[in-house]
């Protein structure tokens, strides 16, 4: 069966569409090959090319594969096929960080100032303390008992001056942290810790059945095949069993300024974990949320891990609840019942606690296990009294320390002792 034969396309339209496909591929990393380009041209043969919105809808269906790509597509389409003499729309920054070929991350430039979607609102001089959330910050500091960080030393005694310092540091408007570099000197150690973690995780059994020496269900197909040799007597029974589920890891790093050193360590650990298992997802958040997985996939092992400017995800203030909720809802395909979620944060937050509770409830409901890694948790006398940690506690399967490589080595053992996974 074939569709109606399409009338030939004007040559210049075909050329422009091919150039548009190439632009999506090279600038934004869309996975578009000659097959997709051919489909795009075929598409034009079956829509009314004089109706721009029809062409846009058709090309969008052929050339995009996710909601994120759809947004980029619409912007680029309007820019590329604007009427002659029409105003030039603002240039869209590349769809970072997924788009560059492995090994060329160093060439990333920060988003242009007129970028429509990825503008960097936090890139301002250090602000005066915002009015909203002041009390919240104060609460966090007041309740930090272990006090490992300079800024949380004395919140309860003198609420004015130290709190101001803290508010500035934790402010959602704090300045961005720029690019990120990490040496790989401790890679062998981190690889050992990552390997131990991958081995330590034992999930339950899959619901899928596959031929196994023993199992809960008779494999009728193989049993009958065997019975044919014994004239219908099923003397040799074959079984279907349920294989073990392979774990997925989701690491969510608090990249706010108060977490700088610990987040860097965890990022290197995430890189090591990624070298031990392909089922690793990594996100960083500060005032905004960014998926780092494509950058880790492209990072060559044994070399310095170099990430471009992560904008809102690194070096700004902290909004744990808002970003976790965003992750639980918009990136929900990365959290399922095989996923171990690790949240690395000190719990110093400026956002509303209800949002955090809602996010934690959703993560707890969807994931195999949710573990909070805190650089404070290993300190003697530490109590989880920070506002965010307190709110998250009912939904956690563990609150574990993560202030050094030693803690990461111990992580596998601690998780194993933590009991069976859901």
């Amino acid at each position: 069966m074939t569709a109606d034969p399409a009338p030939p396309l004007p040559a210049d339209l075909a050329t422009r569409v091919t150039a548009f496909v190439a632009r999506l591929r090279t600038r934004h990393g869309f996975l578009l090959g000659p097959g997709e380009a051919a489909d795009a041209l075929r598409t034009l043969g079956v829509v009314d090319v004089l109706r721009k919105h029809e062409v846009r809808d058709a090309l969008r269906a052929v050339l995009t594969a996710s909601p994120e790509q759809r947004r980029v597509f619409d912007q680029e389409f309007n820019a590329f096929f604007r009427p002659d003499g029409g105003p030039l729309p603002p240039t869209l920054p590349p769809l970072l960080p997924q788009t560059e070929a492995p090994g060329v991350e160093q060439e990333h430039q920060p988003s242009p100032p007129n970028g429509a979607d990825d503008a960097e609102p936090e890139k301002k001089p250090a602000p005066t303390p915002p009015d909203s959330g002041d009390g919240d910050d104060q609460g966090d500091v007041d309740t930090t008992q272990a006090q490992p960080l300079g800024e949380s030393d004395d919140g309860s005694e003198d609420p004015d001056e130290p709190a101001q310092t803290i508010r500035t540091k934790l402010s959602p408007n704090a300045s961005g942290g720029g690019e990120f570099d990490a040496t790989e000197g401790d890679l062998p150690e981190l690889l050992r810790a990552a390997g131990a973690l991958v081995r330590a995780v034992e999930l339950g059994r899959s619901r899928r059945l596959k031929p196994m020496p023993r199992g809960p269900k008779l494999d009728a197909r193989r049993t009958i095949r065997a019975a044919a040799r014994t004239a219908g007597d099923a003397t040799l029974l074959k079984w279907l069993g349920r294989p073990r589920r392979a774990p997925r890891f989701l690491l969510i790093l608090d990249g706010s300024r108060s977490m700088g050193r610990d987040a860097t360590l965890l990022l290197r650990f995430a890189h090591a974990l990624h070298l031990r298992s392909r089922r690793v997802e990594v996100y960083a958040f500060s005032t905004g949320l960014t998926r780092l997985t494509p950058l880790l996939r492209g990072a060559p092992p044994g070399k310095t891990l170099h990430l471009p400017d992560l904008g809102e995800a690194w070096g700004g203030g902290t909004r744990i609840g808002e970003n976790l909720l965003k992750l639980a809802r918009q990136e929900r395909e990365h959290v399922n019942r095989d996923t171990l979620v690790f949240i690395l944060s000190d719990g110093l937050d400026t956002g509303p606690v209800e949002e955090l509770e809602r996010a934690m409830r959703e993560l707890h409901h969807r994931a195999a296990r949710v573990v909070w890694l805190s650089p404070l948790a290993g300190m003697p006398g530490y109590q989880p009294v920070q506002r965010a940690v307190k709110a998250a506690l009912p939904y956690l399967d563990g609150l574990l320390p993560a202030s050094g490589v030693g803690d990461l080595h111990a992580l596998a053992g601690r998780l194993k002792r933590g009991g069976a996974l859901r």
Partner: protein, 303 residues
């Protein structure tokens, strides 16, 4: 054989005649399914009408709908074909009693073959609509298995060989994004993200599906639903909830929203206790506004 491909406008009209209000972008994407013989992956929040779109396409094209509901643990056998083991065993026993030999060709012939949805779809003479529903619920292995079907329109049965499609089915896959789908699957499909309908579209849907519902009530319900979707709910109401709510209110003979009616029917809209608590102030405001409107209408009519 040449088939005429309906234009997006025609498709919209065909869909509307069957109670489905489709936007132009969806109509274009569906049209390409027929024109390019490519599968379409529909993604979007739960309850926006992804499954219904496939059902309506089958009605619009006047062809058979074959549905494969995916679930965790689904494997090739249960989606493709199985052998009728009980009959095979009886046949073997009967042959043994009669002193006959049973060969593989006989034991694994059409007589004992039970076709499951995917095999049914490629054996149809007239191209059916094949709905692979909630493909994200199946696991990676099943997704990989689907690739051969979606790319080559053929299926391999070890005992029978490779079966080619008699006519290429119009395939629609749906996903709620509970798992990341592979790039390989996405590349084989057209893609369309189904959004929640606008207030105007949703009102049209209520009128199309529930023609008996009072016009004022329908508008209030759709306005309320739009306001609820703007809240950070755990389970925002879909179009199905809108229809359920309007039908529930109509069955209680309500002609406008009020606090009592909302309380009595809230379970049709918000399915989480936390969401109900979160939405309570918004619903209170909506009820007050609706009551105000209801009080002003007779005066306006009478003047």
């Amino acid at each position: 054989m040449t088939v005429s491909v309906p234009t997006p406008g025609d498709l919209q009209a065909l869909f509307r005649a069957r109670g489905y209000v489709a936007g132009e972008a969806l109509a274009t994407a569906v049209r390409l399914v027929v024109a390019l013989d490519k599968p379409l992956l529909l993604e979007g929040p739960a309850g926006v009408g992804k499954t219904e779109a496939a059902k309506t396409l089958a009605l619009a094209l006047d062809t058979r709908l074959i549905r494969l509901q995916c679930y965790e643990g689904l494997d090739a056998q249960s989606s493709l074909y199985e052998w009728n083991y009980a009959r095979q065993l009886l046949h073997l026993r009967g042959a043994e009693l009669a002193g006959e030999r049973v060969g593989d060709d006989e034991l694994y012939g059409e007589k004992f073959l039970l076709a499951r949805p995917l095999l049914q779809a490629i054996r149809e003479e007239r191209a059916p609509v094949l709905l692979i529903d909630e493909v994200d619920r199946a696991d990676d292995a099943f997704e990989a298995f689907l690739l051969e079907l979606l790319a080559e329109w053929q299926i391999t049965v070890p005992e029978l060989g490779t079966l080619h499609a008699r006519s290429r089915p119009h395939v629609i896959l749906t996903s709620n994004r509970s798992r990341e789908l592979s790039d390989a699957l996405r590349r084989r499909c057209l893609y369309h993200w189904v959004e929640y309908p606008s207030a105007r579209q949703e009102l049209e849907i209520v009128h199309a599906r529930l023609p008996g519902v009072n016009q004022g009530l329908a508008r209030q319900v759709t306005d309320a639903i739009q306001a609820l979707r703007a809240l950070p709910l755990g389970k925002p109401p879909g179009v199905a909830e809108t229809l359920d709510w309007a039908a529930a209110l109509a069955s209680l003979h309500r002609d406008h929203l009020d606090a009592g009616a909302i309380e009595a029917t809230l379970g049709a809209v918000l399915k989480l206790r936390e969401d109900q608590l979160l939405a309570a102030p918004t619903l209170k405001q909506l009820a007050a506004k609706a009551a105000e409107q209801a009080a002003s209408v007779p005066v306006a009519d009478g003047s």
